[in-house]
């Protein structure tokens, strides 16, 4: 149970404070309600490139990191398809420095050509390092457009291609800032050795005079229900063949999300899980196999990925996965198996409460979903899932015409 207090500034900035006296540190986490799904299809990768630029100096402060490091703090950020999240960890006595830095870059960036030029290159190297110069690194560049045909989840956060990043212009950067970076589109959480009254005063002081931004009406195309099985085969210079199967599932807020998440745990969480036990251990068909949900805010994907052993034909490996998916649709999961995956959720959430950064990020995320209280309701939402719900949801998700399968076939020449 995480307790917190909430207040909202006149300009729309939502602030949550979570007091924790057991640490001398504090976290300031700012979530901006913008992600790769908000990008123009011809200028993808922009939300993430923009995240890099947020460290390139703001209107009154030429360097972001140096003054923060000087007071014993550090900072980082991440972008995904839904959100951009910035966080600072620093000694609680110096928390005002975090507000000074964050408020100035919320007010306006410096927009220097040098910063844009460098970060275009840095992000291009990130693209190569994580997506191109790795075996299977491009899986999401291939699987997303296969599964999503109209929704912007069809591109990865890094962008569709290197050229979109290379072509980013300063006027795009400025327009993006104007559109998405303002107090009314941000949620700030402060966690650690702080007092709410003091935080309120400081937040008013540094953020109070930042004007609210222009209205942004998110109007994303809705992915139509998939009607046919999709499949793509890539011959690649990878050591092992590999299977990726993606199924459309519910959005993050619906009760079905929790059902699907538990199904993924039944299939692949821990060494007692079904896919690990049956397909990797008993039938000796795979060297690795996993199932997970993407957890995106809009309708997400349920993913199964596996690497069959060299003596197993791809068709047989796929067939074995489908057999397990059919069992889920035909036989109700037993009580103790359901209890098991719920217990794992409970202990995972208890361990997550040991980190002030995790708490701050989670509170901000659930506030974006509608209300930070939802974080404290998570366990009960998982607890409510019944065996019948798992049966129904499995029938809904694991249909051939709801599936997109991507196969990597290993080129044999170098083995």
């Amino acid at each position: 149970m995480i307790s917190y207090q909430r207040f909202v500034l006149g300009n729309g900035l939502k602030v949550l404070v979570q007091e924790d006296e057991t640490t001398p540190m504090a976290v300031v986490n700012i979530l901006y309600d913008v992600g790769a799904r908000d990008e123009d299809p011809d200028k993808t990768g922009f939300a993430h490139l923009f995240e890099h630029l947020m460290f390139g100096g703001s209107v009154h402060i030429p360097q972001f990191d140096t003054p923060l490091q000087l007071v014993g703090g550090e900072s980082n950020a991440f972008t995904n398809n839904d959100i951009t999240n910035y966080y600072i960890t620093l000694p609680a006595v110096n928390i005002e420095t975090a507000f000074w830095l964050e408020s100035d870059r919320m007010l306006s960036l410096a927009f220097t050509e040098k910063s844009l030029e460098t970060q275009r290159q840095v992000v291009s190297e990130e693209f190569k390092q994580r997506y191109l110069n790795q075996p299977y690194g491009d899986v999401w560049l291939r699987l997303r457009p296969l599964a999503y045909q109209v929704h912007p989840y069809q591109w990865a956060t890094i962008g569709k291609t290197l050229s979109h990043i290379e072509e980013a212009e300063m006027e795009d950067v400025k327009a993006f800032f104007k559109q998405h970076y303002s107090p009314d589109k941000a949620i700030m959480t402060v966690s650690g050795n702080v007092k709410t009254a003091e935080i309120k005063k400081l937040v008013e002081k540094w953020f109070g005079d930042i004007p609210a931004g222009m209205k942004y009406q998110r109007n994303l195309p809705v992915e139509p229900e998939q009607q046919e099985m999709r499949r793509a085969v890539v011959h690649a210079d990878v050591p092992l063949s590999s299977i990726y199967m993606a199924f459309h599932m519910s959005n993050r807020l619906s009760p079905e999300y929790y059902v699907a998440d538990l199904i993924s745990d039944i299939l692949s969480r821990g060494h007692s899980s079904r896919l690990y036990r049956r397909l990797l251990k008993d039938r000796e068909m795979f060297s690795e196999i996993n199932a997970y949900v993407l957890g995106s805010i809009d309708h997400g994907l349920f993913v199964i990925e596996g690497k069959p052993l060299p003596n197993i034909a791809i068709e047989n490996a796929e067939k074995a996965i489908w057999e397990e998916l059919i069992v889920l649709q035909e036989e109700p999961v037993k009580d103790d198996e359901l209890e098991k995956v719920k217990n794992k959720i409970e202990s995972t959430m208890a361990f997550a409460e040991m980190s002030i950064l995790d708490k701050a990020m989670n509170l901000a995320y659930f506030e974006l979903l509608g209300n930070a209280d939802l974080l404290n309701e998570e366990i009960s939402r998982y607890r409510e899932v019944s065996a019948t719900a798992i049966l129904c949801e499995s029938k809904k998700i694991f249909r051939k015409e709801n599936s997109s399968t991507l196969i990597y076939l290993a080129n044999k020449h170098d083995q």
Binding site: P67, E74, N133
Partner: protein
């Protein structure tokens, strides 16, 4: 109106509070260190065993001991064991490190009583079934074949070999090595290494006497059925390392978009009085986001997504390393810039302002790294296993406070001479006549 151009005033952290453990001896002599703290009803318990070199087999055997530890006992199959651990929502993780094998349990307090007997069974009665052993070797060969396609992974192997030569630290498994290890050796190693005389227990979280009593009941009563044995003869001897070759080791990978670079050397460890100074110099060079390597090679030139340097400490050695992955076309340019930055560190006095940033950053992040009771256990464990006294962090913190620019210059000249270091490049962009590794 507030003046946004002026930074708020700040304080430098002057002190920190480090938890000290309660030291307990179990009835059979096992040393247990207990840290009671935290708000949640949960604990982390670690059983740590020094590695031993069984019959001079390759260290892959020790890796396999960790990988196979949960695959079955005389009472429970691996499947049954996994089922129970998962049912109680626990996490049970064996881990191999260069000097130790550890088994770590994360659990809510309410399930401890159910879990400890399982762990006792694992530590006393594991049988390493042949079928599971075959699966383990087969699947790890597959995983290794994927990793060997990653330049960064290959560079790390070549680097370890370059600085630790033919010792156990310099070893990296080849795929064929999996065919050479045998189950009988695994059983022999288990009997010798996993025994009370070679066991330490570290526990953190909500610890009370019932937890300690339960641990003593399961692990403190006897010799775990082990025969008396001469552990000493299997101990890893102090290592003797070869001189480091400074010629560039270059492994070309023509299809690469990026090259992985590693530069470094063996260095001093925490017992050496200069260690904290080296820690500071390393931070300045490549140990934080504002470091010189990051500022120059990422933030100014855009050659890489990230570059960093670090110091690792082992029981019988320590090492300094710079690591990055850079665009193939700027591989040589990056090597030149790294050399330039190291030369600058040795020849030019760092400004008081830049050093101040590093010193305050180190103090802040040190205190920040003591986030919860587990971090306190980790800090203590690191010192205890390296045989360093508990006042080390106090001295470290004081040295950070008083370190001067001339201290940094002197330290860089003593320990950060890139001409004496091993250099590894895996990828593309080095002309062939340079690659004489």
């Amino acid at each position: 109106m507030i003046n946004r151009s002026v930074a708020p005033t700040f304080k430098s952290l002057e002190t920190f509070h480090l938890l000290r453990p309660e030291e307990i001896k179990l009835d059979n002599g096992i040393q247990l260190f207990s840290f009671n703290g935290g708000e949640q009803e949960l604990v982390r318990i670690e059983w740590v065993f020094n590695n031993i070199a069984w019959k001079d087999r390759v260290p892959l055997l020790n890796v396999a001991l960790s990988g196979m530890l949960l695959e079955g006992t005389t009472h429970l199959s691996g499947a049954e064991l996994a089922e129970q651990v998962d049912f109680y929502g626990a996490f049970l993780q064996p881990e191999y490190a260069f000097d130790h094998l550890s088994l770590t349990l994360y659990t809510l307090n309410k399930h401890i009583g159910k879990l400890l007997p399982l762990i006792k069974d694992v530590l006393q009665n594991s049988i390493f079934p042949e079928k599971e052993f075959q699966t383990y070797c087969r699947n790890n060969k597959q995983t290794l074949s994927v990793s060997l396609k990653k330049n960064d992974f290959v560079a790390r192997r070549l680097f370890n070999q370059a600085i630790f030569s033919s010792t156990r630290y310099g070893y990296s498994p080849e795929i064929a090595d999996y065919d050479a290890i045998e189950r009988a050796d695994l059983q022999g190693l288990y009997q010798q290494q996993i025994r009370p005389e070679n066991c330490l227990i570290f526990i953190g979280g909500r610890v009370d006497t019932t937890v300690i009593e339960a641990i003593n009941h399961e692990f403190g009563q006897d010799s775990w059925g082990r025969n008396a044995a001469d552990i000493a003869k299997n101990k890893v001897e102090p290592y003797s390392f070869d001189a480091i070759s400074t010629a560039l080791i270059y492994e070309p990978k023509e299809a690469s978009l990026q090259s992985a670079i590693r530069i470094g050397t063996r260095t001093i460890d925490r017992k050496h009085p200069d260690f904290s100074y080296l820690w500071i110099a390393n931070t300045l060079l490549g140990g934080y986001f504002g470091s010189r390597l990051m500022s120059n090679i990422r933030e100014d030139k855009g050659y890489t997504y990230g570059i960093g340097s670090g110091i690792g400490t082992l029981k019988h050695s320590a090492f300094f390393t710079i690591a990055t992955e850079v665009g193939a076309d700027v591989t040589s340019a990056t090597l030149d810039e790294i050399a330039k930055e190291m030369k600058r560190l040795r020849e030019e006095m760092v400004s008081v302002e830049e050093l101040e940033v590093v010193k305050n950053y180190l103090r802040g992040t040190f205190v920040g790294s003591l986030e919860n009771v587990f971090s306190h256990v980790d800090k203590f464990k690191r010192l205890y296993l390296a045989d360093v006294d508990v006042n080390y962090y106090q001295r470290h913190f004081e040295i950070i406070k008083k370190c001067t620019p001339s201290d940094v210059l002197e330290t860089a000249n003593k320990y950060l001479n890139d001409e004496d270091m091993a250099k590894v490049v895996v990828g593309k962009g080095i002309s062939s006549k340079k690659g004489q590794g």
